[in-house]
């Protein structure tokens, strides 16, 4: 499904970034990094209207010819970015949302680990497993 999943710290450095091995990893890094522009834009726009504050899902950040980049931001301003292939049309908004929710839950588990130091790169196997699950199910 997803071709790249990234978790980005509040300070905009990557905590976790993983992409499908078949494709150029570097390109995804650039894509995710650039998407932070839109995340910031959306987050600052959300701040203005109080009603939207509960909504963590930012929706489609921007489409490119080949990929669609979706964003999600936790209350602690940790960003999740999921990149899916544009040709993969079976993924609807709802599926993306549920992927983000799953990711968030797993991320919460990582944060709950007393041996994890917030701000460190995520090395959790459980988290990795969840991410793998999202990336493997290629339609």
């Amino acid at each position: 499904m997803a071709v790249c999943i990234a978790v980005i710290a509040k300070e905009n450095y990557p905590l976790y970034i993983r992409s499908v091995p078949s494709q150029n990893e570097l390109k995804f890094h650039y894509t995710v990094h650039t998407s932070l522009d839109v995340v910031e834009e959306k987050v600052s726009a959300v701040g203005k209207s109080l009603a939207d504050q509960r909504e963590l899902y930012l929706g489609l950040l921007y489409p490119t010819e080949d990929y669609k980049v979706y964003g999600y931001v936790t209350n602690s301003k940790v960003k999740f970015v999921i990149v899916v292939d544009s040709s993969n049309t079976s993924l609807r908004d709802n599926e993306i949302r549920s992927m983000f929710r799953k990711l968030h839950n797993s991320f919460t588990d990582v944060m709950c680990n007393p041996f994890y130091n917030p701000g460190d790169p995520i090395l959790s196997k459980a988290f990795n497993g969840i991410v793998s699950g999202m990336m493997v199910q290629t339609s």
Binding site: A9, K10, E11, N12, Y13, P14, E25, L26, H29, Y30, H33, T34, L36, D37, V38, E40, E41, Y62, P63, T64, E65, S86, S87, T89, N117, G119, D120, P121, L123
Partner: protein, 1174 residues
């Protein structure tokens, strides 16, 4: 909406204009089916003449040409005419309508009050015609016949009838429209449901639904019209997706045809009939369909004032089309889609620019920037494809490709043929030459970058910049490329994106190499060589770049200095021994752990650590406690950005606290005033951590500029080989207290410098001087030796050699003991005392005691003490340690000679200046040279305690066996007599003072010769001067207070003096002092005989310590030093032989009434008691 008009055409024609104008003037509420919200619409109608062949046939789907209302016009007003022709005509009309199942009709009867017509006789009331018509045609539908009165007149009646007509027409028209539209929609839905059937054609359906859209558009219902197109869009998209999923529809075949035309979107026409026709014919390609669909959507969106949705949809459309063509596996030549996208982007942008002003555009560039960037991207890939982005220009193959691409563009559309900036022209021009391409590409890139920057999407801007840099690189302009790359790199570094950092850095390295910026290139190479993101081969390559530069023996004026962090990291520093503080003889080793980041082992010619001498910790004064704050056993871990998670996070948590103890001592007595703990690096700890600073990931560092400080001391190691990973390097530290400052590794022409070693590390190689406590001289004492072994292990047989001095013998006693332990063996020879030490491990204290005695050296007078030198030889040092021990003399003595009549006494005062208490036992006074004195002790106690800082006085009476060197010559006795008749003296009354001076002994020979005069009686006489002086102002001397007395030199010769004195106070007053002085006449010999006193004091008395206090105010000294001369000075004495006074020596005059007191009563009439305490 189309209306068909039958009947009197000339009548209709006369009314047409006003009708067509008036009809849309008032809105009508349009109630809609399927629960859609009602809307107010303005009905616009078109009227055509009724023709049977124009009536829609059964199954006709056209809605635009559908006649919604049939109107029959008549102005017939006479029954005859009606019956004869009009009725028939109406019947025929009705039948035709019925045969076409059209039930929407109305008959309009126009009434005019024409005088011409009114003349006729057989006029029926006009209502009758209407009634007739109604009864003939409108059974139960009375509203189908409307009367219009005097339509061309300007009267209120005419106006009312017009309004009624219009209302009627609108209502009927809307009714018909709703009914027919509903029917149309139902039909359309039915058609749509048939889409699974074979033979169903999307294009057909497209035309049907578009008809609906057109109708809505006509009714100004753009929203509804847009919905129709969106539905078509979605339907088509779904088909394409289904195709992708394997569900192929036959009609889709036509869309899978290879793309032959990529002329881009055309948004300047409201309806692109050309494309619409091709769709209708089923010949449209996918791009045609999409283009047409989008152009319609765009038109409607712009009608709806939503231009920004156009841009957003355009981007989606373009992405989507590319995907769809891929999905449908439509064959398309390389670059064709790029052309299409490029043209389309520009076309959309042009269209938007056309309907917005500049300010609006600037405010909304967030909506357009995507298109700009996309166009830039596409143009770049076109340029690459056509060989326009290379140094050499396009090849013939490239040119062929360009020709093919341009062919697909077709001819320029007539709309833009006159515009200079049309997308078509731009693309053609850009592909025509390298220069033109560059111009257009740069223009687009900069536009996109500026827009991104304007809306704060800096990352996106940098990405465009990076792509621009790649262009410059390909064009062979590394200088410009580097600027953009550096910009991007900065952002990646600051945000900690390691992979982009590596990639960008590699590009920068390429630029720098091309630019020949050696130092920068080496720095970047060093970074890349240590970059874990690169493959080993690449890292080796970059490492080799450095090494080969280092190996060049060019004569560089200076070595290239690079930051060490990228080359190797100082991870740990360890001191051996761990205290980081050793005695100078020992070896202090500093072990550095360097993690070499290079992929291969590197030979380093020299590794040097510069050290800084700490002046405040003298270096020789032993350890001061402040330096020993680091208690982590001599190991300092340097935190760096590590690849593993653990240590990096602690670095993120901020620097560790560096605590130091402070002691505040008062300046006067050095006593401790306060003690505290102070944090030394508050500026680092308390510094607000900036947001957005990621923890240091391995390669996300920008190397600081470094400089090796020249001069200063260095710890050096030559020729080290650093293997990848941890390396251990050991330095040997020179003596002194030093702080490690910098680290520098030299590889040929390259220096790697670590400009600061932080946290700062200090070590100390000290030589500790013995610390001594002062001792007291003159008595045996236990001396405690404390031996700190330092690094040295005391082996069995090691001995301490103490050189003996004459003044300080070491007492050979058994009291030399190890504190708390066994006895040490001591061997004493004449010169050396050797103490064998027990085996002791390093850094232990060895304590033992030794009994020593310091003799007070005779013959020299010492005030406080003295410092005999002593040297110690120890087996661990080749040097002898010279000790200057300080011994203090515990006592001070002073003595004085006292007289009582003829008797003489010697008083000795012993003052204890030490801190100890002593017991004086068997106090003895002896004469040293000749035993002419007989001393009788008055000291009763044999043992007397002499406490610290106290004094003890001892007294002896001295009798001379033969001649007394000091004898009492005169005795002075004073008496005070109260005034006559008074039993006591009273203050204020004059009393008599009687002084009697008595010669006690016969004159000696010397005295006779010296200054005597022979009296007239033959008696030798001498002159004495007396003086009554009262220093305490108790007495007032009345009359003469001093005078001359001539004393016969004969024993018991007495001279009495009467002097009047007056007591000034009441009470027991001491007697006034009476001084007696020798009066020497002027002719006496100027040479003064040696003072007999000094002889007595210096020679005839032997005191215990032979010391005398010169400054002490003993009586003898005062008498010696104070030569009174009345109104003269010494010089006068010498120059002119003036008569002079000379005091008697101590003990020559005895004052009987010394310290005697007399009672003085207050004056009788004094009622006030004066108390004077003296």
């Amino acid at each position: 909406m189309l209306n068909m008009c039958a009947g009197d055409q000339s009548l209709f024609t006369s009314l047409y204009t006003s009708l067509a104008q008036q009809l849309p003037r008032e809105p009508m509420e349009w109630r809609r089916t399927y629960g859609r919200a009602p809307k107010m619409i303005h009905l616009e109608a078109n009227f055509v003449q009724f023709k049977e062949e124009l009536l829609p046939k059964e199954g006709n789907k056209a809605l635009l040409t559908f006649p919604f209302l049939h109107i029959y016009w008549t102005d017939c007003c006479d029954t005859e005419t009606y019956k004869s022709s009009v009725k028939e005509d109406m019947m025929r009309w009705q039948n035709t309508l019925r045969s076409h199942s059209s039930a929407d009709w109305v008959i309009i009867v126009v009434e005019t009050n024409d005088t011409k017509k009114n003349k006729k006789t057989n006029i029926l009331p006009r209502s009758s015609i209407v009634d007739k018509i109604r009864s003939d045609f409108c059974n139960k539908q009375n509203d189908r016949c409307v009367v219009l009165s005097d339509p061309l007149k300007d009267s209120s009646r005419s106006l009312d009838s017009w309004n009624a007509l219009l209302l009627k027409l609108r209502t009927l028209l809307l009714m018909s429209f709703t009914k027919n539209l509903g029917r149309f929609e139902d039909d359309m839905r039915t058609l749509r449901e048939k889409r699974t059937q074979p033979g169903w054609s999307f294009c057909e359906y497209f035309m049907v639904q578009e008809e609906l859209a057109f109708v809505f558009e006509m009714l100004q219902q753009f929203e509804d019209a847009l919905v129709q197109y969106d539905e078509l869009d979605a339907l088509f998209t779904q088909y394409v997706l289904n195709f992708g999923a394997g569900d192929t529809a036959n009609w889709l075949g036509s869309f899978c045809a290879p793309v032959r035309n990529w002329s881009g979107l055309l948004l300047r026409r409201p309806i692109d009939m050309e494309k619409r026709d091709s769709i209708q014919r089923g010949e449209a390609s996918l791009l045609d369909l999409r283009s047409y669909l989008f152009s319609r959507q765009c038109t409607l969106l712009i009608f709806l004032q939503r231009p920004w949705e156009v841009t957003q949809r355009a981007l989606e459309l373009l992405h989507n089309c590319v995907q769809e063509l891929r999905l449908l596996e439509v064959s398309v030549i390389d670059g064709a889609l790029d052309c299409w996208v490029f043209l389309s982007c520009l076309e959309v942008l042009h269209r938007i620019e056309g309907c917005c002003d500049q300010a609006q555009l600037a405010a909304n560039c967030s909506h357009t920037v995507g298109l700009w960037a996309y166009a830039t991207d596409k143009l770049k890939s076109l340029g690459e494809l056509c060989g326009l982005v290379s140094k050499n220009g396009p090849t013939s193959e490239d040119l062929n490709r360009t020709v093919d691409l341009l062919a697909g563009l077709g001819d320029e559309r007539p709309e833009t043929i006159n515009s200079l900036q049309s997308p078509y022209k731009k693309l053609k021009e850009a592909l025509s030459s390298v220069e033109a391409f560059e111009k257009h590409y740069l223009e687009l890139s900069h536009a996109a970058m500026e827009m991104y920057q304007a809306i704060g999407r800096l990352r996106s801007a940098r990405l465009v910049g990076k792509s621009l840099a790649e262009f410059y690189m390909a064009k062979g302009d590394p200088e410009r490329a580097e600027t953009f790359l550096q910009e991007a790199l900065k952002s990646y570094v600051s945000e900690g994106w390691s992979l982009p950092v590596t990639h960008t850095r590699r590009q920068i390295a390429e630029c720098q190499k091309l630019l020949g910026r050696t130092e920068d290139y080496l720095q970047t190479s060093a970074l890349l060589a240590g970059d874990g993101n690169l493959s080993t081969e690449e890292r080796k390559h970059f490492c080799q770049e450095i090494l080969s530069f280092a190996g060049k023996s060019e004569n560089h004026s200076h070595k290239v200095t690079l930051s060490m962090n990228v080359f190797a990291q100082l991870t740990r520093l360890q001191f051996h021994p761990a205290t980081a503080s050793v005695h100078s003889g020992a070896v202090l080793q500093v072990e550095l752990t360097l993690r070499c980041l290079m992929p291969v082992s590197v030979r380093i010619q020299q590794l040097a650590a510069s050290i800084h001498f700490d002046i405040d910790h003298g270096g020789t004064h032993g350890r001061s406690k402040g330096t020993l704050r680091r208690t982590n056993r001599g190991t300092v871990e340097f935190k760096q950005g590590n690849s593993s998670a653990g240590p990096a996070s602690s670095a993120a948590a901020g620097p560790t606290l560096e605590m130091d103890e402070i002691q505040d001592r008062s300046p006067s007595d050095n006593s401790l005033a306060s003690v505290g703990v102070v944090c030394k690096n508050t500026h680092l700890v308390m510094r607000r951590r900036e947001n957005g600073s990621p923890p240091e990931t391995p390669n996300c560092v920008s190397p600081p500029t470094v400089a090796m400080k020249e001069g200063g001391q260095m710890l050096k190691v030559q020729d080290v080989k650093l293997e990848p990973g941890n390396n251990s390097i050991t330095f040997t530290a020179p003596p002194g207290t030093y702080t490690l400052r910098q680290l520098c590794a030299t590889v040929g022409e390259v220096q790697f410098v670590l400009s600061h070693i932080y946290p700062s590390v200090r070590y100390e190689v000290y030589s500790q001087e013995p610390q001594l406590t002062p001792l007291l001289a003159g008595m045996p004492q236990l001396v405690k030796f404390t031996l700190l072994t330092g690094h040295y292990t005391v082996k069995k047989g090691d001995a301490l050699q103490l050189s003996n001095t004459e003044t300080m013998p070491i007492l050979p006693s058994s009291s030399c003991t190890l504190v708390g332990e066994s006895v040490l063996s001591i061997q004493s020879s004449e010169k050396v005392t050797s103490i064998s030490l027990p085996p002791t491990p390093p850094y232990h204290a060895l304590e033992f005691q030794l009994e020593v005695l310091c003799l007070i050296p005779s013959g020299s007078f010492l005030e406080y003490g003295f410092c005999p030198q002593m040297s110690i030889d120890c087996p661990w040092s080749i040097y002898s340690t010279l000790l200057a021990l300080t011994f203090y003399i515990p006592f001070k003595t002073k003595h004085s000679l006292l007289s009582s009549g003829n008797r003489k006494y010697i008083q000795v005062c012993v003052q204890n200046v030490s801190d100890m208490s002593f017991t004086l036992a068997d106090v003895k006074l002896t004469e040293k040279q000749h035993e002419s004195l007989e001393l009788q002790s008055f000291n009763t106690k044999t043992n007397q305690l002499l406490c610290s800082k106290h004094s003890v006085f001892c007294l002896w009476e001295a009798r001379w066996k033969d001649d007394l060197p000091v004898t009492t010559l005169y005795s002075v006795k004073a008496e005070i007599f109260p005034p006559a008749g008074e039993p006591h003296c009273r203050s204020g009354l004059v009393c008599g003072l009687e002084v009697s001076i008595t010669r006690l002994i016969e004159p000696s020979d010397g005295e006779m010769a010296e200054d005597s005069k022979t009296d007239t009686d033959g008696l030798k006489t001498t002159k004495l001067m007396y003086e009554v002086a009262d220093s305490s102002s108790n007495w007032a001397v009345c009359g003469k207070s001093s005078g001359m007395v001539v004393m016969p030199l004969k024993a018991n010769a007495t001279h009495k003096l009467q002097i009047e004195v007056m007591p000034l106070f009441a009470g027991h007053l001491p007697f006034p002092k009476i001084k007696v002085l020798k009066y020497l006449p002027h002719n006496a010999a100027a040479a003064i005989q040696p003072d007999p006193d000094s002889c007595v004091e210096n020679d005839s008395l032997s005191l215990l310590d032979k010391t005398l206090d010169d400054q002490g105010d003993t009586a003898s000294i005062r008498s010696r030093g104070s030569i009174h001369s009345v109104g003269s000075s010494d010089q006068q004495q010498r120059g002119v032989a003036m008569p002079r006074l000379e005091a008697f020596s101590q003990g020559q005059v005895f004052n009987n009434s010394h310290s005697q007191q007399v009672l003085v009563l207050p004056t009788a009439d004094d009622h006030i008691m004066e108390v004077n305490a003296t």
